[in-house]
Amino acid sequence: LRYATNGLEPHMIHRYSRHLVLPSFGVQGQANLLKSSILVVGAGGLGASALLYFAAAGVGKLGVLDHDKVELNNMHRQIIHTEAYIGQPKVKSAAAACRSINSSIEVVEHEEALKNSNALEIFSKYDIIVDATDNAPTRYLISDCCVVLGKPLVSGAAVGLEGQLTIYNHKGGPCFRCLFPTPPPRAACQSCADGGVLGVVPGIIGCLQALEAIKIAASVGEPLSGRMLLFDALAARIRIVKIRGRSLQCEACGENAIMNKQYFREFDYEKFTQTPLCEAPLKLNL
């Protein structure tokens, strides 16, 4: 077999050979991926598997953003962190794991909480944003920031034994606010901390987020935009449903949208959703 190598170095040809021989991915797909940059917001249950597969696949620049530290009760699902990193920043642990499986990519550590004041600057350095966070205000903040900057957003969520996945703000598709213009009541927003989660469920959704972001970065296939995947792990049922397109009335991306950099920086996401951006973890009393 002989291929056009498209500027790939010999060690890359060897490492990614199983991608290069794929007719529907090939040298061009790999070259696109190596030139791409992806930011994963959240190095928890969703981010763990997504980050490892991004690093392995050869995303050129891989950003990790988180402000938490690794805890023992993360270990049942956050397979990117080893016990040796308990008590240390998740970003540091996750970046080390990514580098240990692929030393030839750039891994960037953003050890900070995501806020209105830093989101635009950080997001603007990446092509694709992956939402691997765990609360409603952060999800609105991330979506709005992606709309303002025109970045595609691969959004995953998992609680209990269910997961959900879609792509927002991609090629004229809807943003998070198009689907959810009004935030849900706070009682409807269970997190993995208070509701629990079967560890492998965010693992599956995180892998699917990695797949969708890799497809966008490599320019291959049909992205999961305008569609949503609904996963029921207990029943082993998966639905992929058709969702609405961009809403003309959307405050973020509609015809008369008020969202811009200035408005974004001043928007109060905690007040809007009646939920703090960073929740104090529930303490179990056993």
């Binding site: 959240g42 928890g44 249950g45 969703l46 981010g47 691997a132 966070t133 765990d134 609360n135 409603a136 999800r139 995953g156 969520a157 998992a158 609680v159 209990g160 269910e162 997961g163 959900q164 689907l179 959810f180 213009p181 009004t182 935030p183 849900p184 009541p185 009682a187 409807a188 927003c189 269970q190 997190s191 993995c192 509701g195 989660v197 965010p202 959704i205 949503m228 609904l230 029921d232 029943a235 639905r239 992929i240 449903v241 058709k242 969702i243 609405r244």
Partner: protein, 101 residues
Amino acid sequence: MQLTIEFGGGLELLCDSKKIHHVNVEFEQQNEEDKLTMRELLSWVQTNLIKERPEMFIKGDTVRPGVLVLVNDCDWELSGQLNTSLEEKDVVVFISTLHGG
């Protein structure tokens, strides 16, 4: 009218943790063309399936914010929302959006 009604994303907790309901919805047909719409189905569901915390399902005359409604695997925004008319054997899904990770 035979329908399948499903709940997910935690909404099943409002109906005894049962996710899938095969139901027979009877409604008063004023004339031949009169069809059951999602507006009527919502109130039927609230009366017949929701056992607790109805405010987690309905707000005003529609579902509460954060609930996606799917008719035959398609967002009800694409079929007319409350005015969507239903056919025999349709599958209606109510699913609460998740935020955890």
